[in-house]
């Protein structure tokens, strides 16, 4: 590969105790689209952040045009000519498109912004891309697809030679995707090196020249897209043994606790039907954005459904996806957090007794092996895994019949993961019904009695334990 523009070799990166990247390598060639493939948590986003100068790698080498470089900050990335098109469309909505393109590097004359030059350059770049919007428009008026084009224009305005697309099509319509692909091909033909991150195999096969597969932060394979099949890629993505992380207890399913019939909420999910029995762990698998969290929020009563029925014979508790913003009151102590959903029993006449709260907290600290100084310790200085245990404890203390877990082990270490799985299994053994939303395939396979797969707001398959495999779940979840 004589025309390599950017090479990464053995990049390592950890956060606290969590390893995000370990021996990750990637080559980007001029005039080629390279697809980066991997499960959620494989380290793709971390790699993008390293390339855009937001994170610094703990080790490994980055070479740009043959020379070893350090990407110290986003400015350095821009100076090298690395541009990123983010999935979530970073834009300054109150500024015009032209201003967005030149944020932090406006064309200047004698220290003052040269508005004429800025508008002219912006217009030229937009014309190059055949964009259907004007440089003077406020960015807030653009559609998501147009914002993507604006991000591409921003990269081009800075003369980027490497462009990274982080799941750009996740929120685009079919027609908008076609338009985006046209631009991507145009950039490729102009000699840019393009990195394309996507879960959608049809896109990868339509667009990419080369592929690289990451698994658990390690690059496991790379090659030409023409030499590989979709099934082979799936095997490469998931090929790992499921170990003892999943202390699954065999139970017999009891009475039906929750029945959902034809549940829909516009723009989020539609026509969802299933039933959950006592003692059962029902996994819900899907890619990010498949509508699983939104379904959980409706089941729990945060939002109302547009149509359909929910019949519940038991209390429902929800351990939300984000333990910090949704799950806990960070400045509160462990005891106060656990007490919050239980005040009706702890303080029936409106007055709290700290003694009872501490007692309850101590029970759960012991039961879930929460590593803390004591019930009075504020939750914000616990580790992620222990915060998650507090969130689970506060809901289990209510003795719900149905427990909904939304990404229960996201970003927590292996020991805490095993503990969360253990308490989940025990909850089911004691007759509770568990709805476990997870993007973590081994977790879904290891814990679930039954798995529902969602894609783009719809149910796309149901697999009982034993039938469910990484391959068929991933195939149902992605558009392969």
């Amino acid at each position: 590969m004589e025309h390599l523009l950017l090479t990464l070799t053995d990049i390592r990166k950890s956060f606290g105790g969590v390893r995000a990247l370990e021996r990750a390598s990637l080559d980007l060639a001029r005039g080629a689209v390279t697809a980066l493939i991997g499960e959620n948590g494989a380290g793709k986003s971390t790699l993008v952040k390293i390339l855009s100068g937001i994170y610094q790698p703990d080790g490994g080498e980055i070479r740009f045009d043959g020379a070893a470089v350090r990407i110290a900050d986003p400015q350095a990335a821009r100076a090298l000519g690395i541009g990123v098109v983010h999935q979530e469309c970073l834009a300054f909505d109150n500024l015009s498109v032209a201003e967005n393109l030149f944020v932090n590097c406006q064309p200047a004359r004698r220290g003052l912004v040269n508005w004429g030059a800025m508008r002219a350059q912006a217009t030229a770049v937009l014309r190059d891309l055949d964009a259907d919007f004007d440089a003077d428009l406020p960015a807030g008026r653009l559609s998501i697809a147009q914002k993507h084009v604006m991000q591409i224009a921003r990269a081009l305005a800075h003369e980027s030679r490497v462009l990274i697309f982080d799941e750009p099509t996740a929120s685009l319509s079919q027609r908008e995707c076609v338009e985006l692909f046209r631009i991507v091909r145009k950039l490729r033909d102009a000699g840019c090196a393009l990195l394309f991150i996507s879960h959608k195999f049809e896109e990868i096969f339509a667009l990419a020249d080369r592929y690289a597969v990451f698994r658990d932060g390690v690059s496991v394979s790379a090659g030409n897209v023409s030499d590989v099949t979709g099934d082979a890629l799936i095997r490469l993505m998931v090929g790992r043994p499921v170990d003892q992380l999943f202390p699954k207890i065999e139970t017999t399913a009891g009475a039906e606790l929750l029945r959902v019939e034809r549940l829909s909420r516009a723009g989020e999910f539609e026509d969802i039907s299933f039933a959950l029995r006592g003692g059962e762990i029902l996994g819900i698998y899907g890619l990010v954005g498949a509508g699983r969290t939104e379904l959980a929020q409706v089941l729990f009563g945060i939002n109302a459904a547009d149509s359909g029925n929910i019949t519940s014979k038991a209390d429902i508790a929800l351990v939300p996806e984000d333990r910090q913003t949704q799950g806990s009151i960070l400045p509160f102590s462990i005891a106060a957090n656990i007490a919050l959903p239980n005040l009706a029993t702890l303080a029936p006449r409106g007055w709290c007794r700290s003694h009872d709260e501490a007692k309850l907290a101590r029970h759960w600290i012991e039961r879930l092996a929460i590593k803390a100084q004591g019930p009075a310790q504020p939750v914000h200085n616990l580790s992620g895994g222990n915060q998650q245990k507090v969130v689970i404890a506060k809901w289990l203390a209510r003795r719900p019949g149905v427990l909904i877990l939304d990404e229960p082990t996201k970003g927590i270490d292996v020991a805490a993961k095993a503990a969360v799985h253990a308490v989940t299994s025990e909850f089911a053994r004691d007759g509770g019904g568990v709805l476990m939303i997870s993007s973590d395939l081994p977790e879904i396979l290891g814990m679930s009695d039954r798995v529902l797969v969602m894609r783009r707001g719809c149910l796309r398959g149901e697999f009982i334990r034993g039938q469910a495999t990484s391959e068929n779940l991933l195939r149902a979840a992605s558009d392969a």
Partner: protein, 320 residues
């Protein structure tokens, strides 16, 4: 909650300030002087406790002093029209009027989701304007007020004025309720993390409404107390006092971002300001220095709590 330790440290600091002033001016610790100090600080204490509730739920009440002034004028006009009814009806009237004004703020913040600083900046002007309309710009002077109306806050009991006793009672209720009541727990939760509170079935907007209403009711009653104590009511009474009230909260450790603060801290913050205010003339320093010192104390207090948060913020980057 970790605010205990902060309160303890701040109590030590306030005590040290008190001892330092007493060391230089032994007369400062005389019971008579202390009673006067408390009497001077009483209204600030009550208002700051009300303001604390609002700041806790991520709001701010800039209209608190205007509410006080309007309710003070309502009380004065009421007393002029029906003199000699005593303090009871006036207290009830100002409580209801102040509560209604506070509830108005709360409704705008809750139902229309307007930013609290904008809402209360607007109502601040509206309330002041209403005083002008009510009084037609005229003053209500001491000779137009009935004896019972004027006497209530000054009645002495065990060496303290009734105003002081009232502030102590309000402070006691707050100290207990903020630590032990479910309502307070909900307020802290809604301010600490509105989204997580929502997952618990706590409506953060409703908690803001409750906080504004209580704050307004306190401001209303303080309006009567202020007018009776200074024996005059006019459009501009307590002009700018909202800033002293907010300053007392911040000095007392209430986080401007919400969710953190204690009644003990706020009372200490008021006493701290009170001690500085009453000791500066003794030292022969102009009252303008008081503003300067208040400002420095606020910045130091905020800096310290910001540092604390910085230290605590666990860097938790989730890989995806």
């Amino acid at each position: 909650m970790s605010s205990h330790r902060r309160d303890l440290a701040f109590a030590a600091l306030t005590l040290a300030l008190f001892l330092a002033v007493t060391f230089v001016f032994p007369g400062f610790a005389a019971p008579r002087n202390l009673a006067g100090l408390l009497d001077d600080t009483a209204i600030l204490i009550m208002l700051a406790l009300g303001q604390m509730l609002v700041i806790l739920v991520r709001g701010i009440d800039l209209s608190i002093a205007a509410n006080l002034a309007l309710c003070g004028m309502i009380a004065a006009v009421f007393d002029r029209a029906w003199p000699g009814m005593g303090a009871g009806p006036v207290l009830a009237l100002t409580l209801v009027c102040g509560g209604a004004l506070g509830a108005f703020n709360g409704l705008l913040v809750w139902k229309l989701r307007l930013p609290p600083i904008v809402v209360t900046l607007g109502t601040m002007s509206i309330f002041r304007g209403a005083i002008y309309l009510l009084s037609k710009g005229a003053w209500v002077n001491e000779n137009e007020m009935s004896r019972g109306f004027l006497a209530f806050p000054r009645i002495e009991f065990l060496g303290l004025t009734l105003l002081s006793w009232l502030a102590l009672a309000v402070a006691a209720v707050f100290v207990i309720a903020m630590r032990r009541s479910r309502v307070a727990r909900d307020l802290y939760a809604a301010g600490g993390n509105p989204e997580a509170a929502n997952y618990l079935g706590i409506d953060a907007g409703r908690m803001q409404f409750i906080a504004y209403t209580i704050c307004g009711a306190i401001a209303g009653v303080c309006g009567y107390l202020w007018v009776a104590r200074f024996a005059v009511a006019y459009t501009d009474i307590a002009l700018g006092f909202e800033l002293s009230v907010i300053a007392a909260c911040l000095i007392g450790g209430v986080a401007i971002a919400g969710g953190v603060g204690s009644a003990v801290g706020v009372v200490l913050g008021c006493l701290f300001i009170g001690i500085i205010r009453s000791s500066l003339p003794l030292v022969g320093i102009s009252a303008f220095w008081q503003m300067f010192i208040n400002g420095v104390v606020i910045l130091v207090a905020v800096l310290l709590s910001a540092r604390q948060r910085e230290f605590k913020r666990t860097i938790l980057e989730v890989r995806a």
